[in-house]
């Protein structure tokens, strides 16, 4: 979905054999045509509501976390907290500011998440690796606690659950599964495009320099502190918008507990399985995390549903999924995106023989 050429240079992977720019851009263009022009007309509500909407929201969160973890090398376990900030802030801006367009509310939700991300990114100035990961856990617990403790955030709703407003953009209302899918798709496309531009820019190169060798980066004059904080802010912004999509476009209702530590881990796994420092990887990873359990669950209940009850099947699926992820990471530590690139190189005309 993103600009392939940008990544190969940015992620410092071995460059693929040179091919005309047209061929490179063609798959992306085709994908966009299908996503915008074909799927909204042929998909059914299961495809939108159960597969594509969670896929888009989690992909976007993966893109956000990949900026921080994949490009800038800062491990974070607080992604779900930033999603929660984005969702609840967007909800409150929309609720409390009369006449504020929803798009602006979602944007402000992202900005709020960026601000919180900045605060919880401050420890990164002193901490690295696992220690930083543990300190971002604080964000996870603190945000959930605040949202639960003060019912003002959920508009005094007795159960702490918020109801999503109708989705409108430039006067158009996006209703139904297909409509909400298009809304999410527009947001994801725009933000992914911006993220792709970012990682190509000087800032993106600074991220990578800080990740690869902080001392060396400081010596060649990169402002390390500012770069790290910027990574936290930008990543949290995107994750915050993803949270708003999760709440408004996908579930249409949300409670603070929906953004728990499990979700943070899920996003981290998306990034790792998909491929670190690759924006496409986030989409591959999200596809695997969202779609694969569903396929397993359906196959399981189709083949064995009459023999075992759904509980036994569910446990078995978890074991199978876990085993496959381990197997996969052993066979291809660089993530799904590396697998995909190998496959594509083989299929492309003029590439070296396999």
């Amino acid at each position: 979905m993103t600009v392939a050429a940008s990544e190969t240079t940015a992620s410092l992977l071995p460059a693929s054999p040179l091919a005309p720019a047209v061929i490179k851009a063609a798959p992306l263009a085709l994908l966009l045509v299908v996503a915008y022009g074909v799927i909204p007309f042929i998909g059914d509500s299961y495809l939108f509501e159960a597969i594509l909407l969670p896929f888009l929201a989690l992909s976007l969160a993966g893109v956000g976390l990949n900026l921080l973890t994949g490009y800038a090398g800062q491990v974070s376990l607080g992604s779900a907290a930033f999603m929660a900030v984005g969702a609840f802030a967007a909800y409150n801006f929309h609720l409390r500011v009369e006449g504020l367009p929803l798009a602006v509310a979602i944007l402000l939700g992202g900005v709020s998440a960026a601000a919180i991300g900045l605060i919880f990114g401050l420890p990164s100035l002193r901490l690295r690796g696992f220690y930083l990961a543990v300190s971002t856990l604080a964000a996870q617990f603190f945000v959930q606690w605040v949202l639960t403790k003060f019912s003002w955030f959920s508009n005094q709703s007795a159960s702490g659950v918020i109801d999503a407003p109708p989705l409108t953009l430039f006067g158009l209302t996006f209703e139904g599964g297909a409509g909400r899918y298009l809304f999410a798709l527009v947001v994801v496309t725009v933000l992914t495009f911006l993220a792709a531009r970012l990682v190509q820019s000087e800032t993106g190169r600074n991220f990578i320099a800080v990740r690869d060798n902080e001392t060396a980066a400081r010596i060649i004059g990169i402002p390390v502190l500012r770069t790290k904080l910027l990574a936290f802010a930008l990543s949290s912004f995107i994750i915050g918008v993803a949270g708003a999509l999760w709440a408004f476009a996908y579930l249409r209702t949300v409670e603070p507990a929906g953004f728990n530590l499990d979700r943070s881990f899920q996003i981290l796994f998306i990034v790792i399985i998909g491929g670190l420092a690759s924006l496409r990887g986030a989409f591959f990873g999200a596809a695997l995390i969202v779609v694969f359990p569903l396929i397993l669950s359906r196959l399981g209940s189709l083949l064995l549903g009459d023999v075992f009850d759904s509980g036994v099947l569910d446990m078995t699926q978890r074991i199978v999924l876990g085993a496959l992820i381990i197997l996969f990471l052993i066979l291809e530590p660089d993530g799904l995106v590396a697998l995909w690139d190998r496959l594509r190189r083989r299929l492309q005309p003029g590439s070296r023989p396999a």
């Binding site: 299961y46 509501e49 159960a50 639960t148 007795a158 159960s159 409670e255 359906r298 209940s301 099947l313």
Partner: protein, 449 residues
């Protein structure tokens, strides 16, 4: 390496193809004259005890009707299950997966979080959503929520029943003045639902109130019970769920709070809540809408028709007649009777969701009818109307004696007249926010196909 890669690619392709093939099989058409129950069940995870018991009882009753009566007036009852683990996302996925089935009678997710996420969706589909003994309180107002039914006991009625019971132990409502009650609630939409009503009743009756949250799932409560010990309340109301309950009882014993002054709510009243707590649970009292025990005629018939033939849904036969199993059976009775009532009006065939909704809105089972169904004393009665979707269920209190629950009160009526205006205020606010026009009795009679 090459072979390796090729193998992996082939495996991936095969997986995708297999998945694509399996999809259409799920949209197979229903056979003639069947009424379907899609079940978003949970048989694993922290709330599996509730899920297996409730869905086990529900399926057992549907199975009994099929085996004994050949369905409802010849219309077979069918069901399909999808696992949710009590998680909202999985519940939504299960809803989307199961909803294409023909002839869906009603949804019974047994989760407040999932129910909240489904309200918009099932209202658009015009299919009833049943949240027996739980759910969103203001969905009791059928003028605003035409398709949502918190049958038997909504959370506010439960609260009123518990406060009235404590008052009766103290010698009258006026004796509540100056007493101190702590509510220990589960940190979930379900747990928080009653916060405002406890505050209101505390003001009305003049007792001091402290509400303390236990974060989901609740397997660590040391600090909460230390707070309770400092507060020295007269009663603790346990508004728990799943593993939180036995932990609460054990921690109470450890911190020295007397167990007979802990009153459990309707989701803290099962055998699975007290047995793991062992001695610490002896003397614990909890509210219920359906008594436990296997001596009721309907439960005996389920044992004879299903379990003796090896067709029962519970794996552990010792759980037959437990609180959750009986709740599932009562839920089955209410769903099946709603279909039967709707069939009397619309014909003995597969009904649409909206027709079943009409059936639920005329679900009036007096004690005589309940007895005829083999459920005398299992539950009291229900009286659902188009604008009262709870149906004025009665409650009773049971005490755990170490081996079984013993009923220690009569059937008690919650203070519905007190609660109705509060419910209407909340539902009308919801209607205004969502731009919903209040339904009238005439609207409720109109049924779309």
């Amino acid at each position: 390496m090459t072979l390796h890669t090729r193998l992996k690619t082939a495996a991936l392709a095969a997986g995708i193809a297999l998945a694509a093939l399996s999809l259409p099989a799920f949209t197979r058409q229903a056979l003639a004259d069947e009424q379907h129950f899609p079940l978003q069940s949970y048989r694993v995870g922290p709330y599996a005890a509730g899920g297996t018991g409730f869905f086990g009882g529900f399926i057992d009753y549907l199975n009994l009707i099929n085996t004994r009566d050949g369905g409802v007036n010849g219309v077979k009852l069918t069901w399909s299950e999808a696992e949710t683990q009590y998680e909202v996302e999985r519940g939504v996925e299960a809803y989307e997966r199961l909803k294409s089935h023909q002839g869906i009678a009603a949804w019974n997710p047994l989760s407040v979080g999932i129910a909240y996420a489904m309200i918009d969706r099932i209202t658009a589909d015009k299919v009833p959503l049943i949240t027996i003994n739980h759910g969103r309180t203001d969905s009791t107002d059928g003028r605003v929520f035409p398709y949502v039914f918190p049958l038997l006991l909504n959370p506010y009625s439960e609260t009123s029943g518990i406060v009235n019971y404590i008052a009766s132990k103290e010698g009258g409502l006026e004796k509540l003045k100056g007493k101190k009650i702590v509510v220990l609630y589960h940190g979930s939409p379900y747990g928080k639902e009653t916060i405002p009503i406890y505050e209101l009743l505390a003001q009305k009756y003049g007792f001091t109130l402290q509400q303390i949250e236990v974060p989901h799932p609740g397997n660590e409560q040391q600090s909460q019970w230390l707070t309770i010990r400092r507060a020295k309340p007269d009663y603790v109301v346990l508004r728990g769920w799943g593993v939180m309950n036995p932990v609460a009882l054990k921690t109470a014993a450890k911190t020295g709070f007397p167990v007979d002054h802990i009153i459990g709510n309707v989701w803290s009243n099962s055998e699975e809540d007290v047995i793991p707590a062992g001695e610490a649970a002896k003397g614990y009292t909890a509210i219920t809408t359906q008594a436990s025990g296997a001596d009721y005629p309907v439960v005996k018939e389920i044992v004879k028709t299903l379990y003796d033939q090896g067709k029962g849904n519970l794996e552990d036969k010792k759980r037959i007649g437990s609180v959750y199993h009986n709740l599932g059976i009562v839920n089955g009775i209410l769903n099946v009777e709603a279909i039967r009532i709707a069939q009397a009006k619309f014909g003995k065939r597969t009904l649409t969701g909206d027709e079943v909704r009409w059936g639920f809105e005329h679900l009036q089972l007096d004690p005589a009818r309940v007895e005829a169904l083999g459920a005398k004393d299992l539950f009291h009665s229900i009286n659902v109307t188009w604008d009262n979707h709870e149906g004025n269920g009665y409650v009773t209190f049971q005490q755990w004696d170490g081996t079984k629950w013993k009923v220690v009160s009569d059937w008690i009526a919650p203070d519905w007249a007190l609660l109705r205006p509060i419910i209407e205020k909340s539902s009308e606010a919801y209607a205004a926010e969502k731009g919903i026009k209040l339904r009238t009795a005439a609207d409720a009679e109109g049924v779309t196909n």
